[in-house]
Subunit: 109 residues, 2 copies
């Protein structure tokens, strides 16, 4: 939801996100404010299968599986990926609508 | 620049950002990982004049001018706004290409 804002005396401003919307949008961007998480999301998004096992994500970023799982939890919590447990491994699918939507809400484009 | 990545034994993955590209992309998102900066950029982007004076940005976010100027410097450094000094006041224009480009590089959309 956007709410109209009146600014000072002279500047006309169109609708901008409410404070709660700004907090939600910022949370999405904050999750991506880390180069490892950018790389992890890019890997999953670029995977031919449309999903990746956590077991295949450790080597490209050169980090341990617990560390990768921590980064993935941040992305899941921000709504940027979806997680599915299958037996021993967790699999992740991109959910980039959250990013596209946040960018759209911020820029109106 | 994107570089091809080979992942483990079985998962085909398309090009993903290099480490330096991931750092650059993450820096753009990190600057927006704060609700006040989200609101400031949304205000400037929504301004009918295409720019806003720092003097008109303080009231909508309820912060002092030095604090707003600090947030604006973070956005300028990330390439998300451009700053122009005119006499006493600084004026800001949106430069959302940096955000659109970062989103595109990450998602391929």
């Amino acid at each position: 939801m956007s709410t109209p804002r009146t600014v000072a005396c002279c500047t006309e401003v169109g609708p901008v996100p409410s404070r709660s919307d700004a907090e939600r949008i910022a949370a999405v961007f904050k999750a991506l404010g880390d180069p490892t998480r950018v790389t992890l999301l890019a890997l999953i998004t670029a995977s031919a299968a449309g999903e990746m096992c956590v077991c295949d994500l450790t080597e490209p970023v050169g980090l341990s599986q617990p560390t990768v799982s921590h980064h993935m939890k941040v992305l899941v919590d921000a709504g940027l990926v979806q997680r599915e447990q299958r037996g021993r491994w967790a699999y992740y699918r991109p959910s980039i609508g959250a990013l596209v939507s946040a960018t759209h809400e911020l820029t109106g484009t």
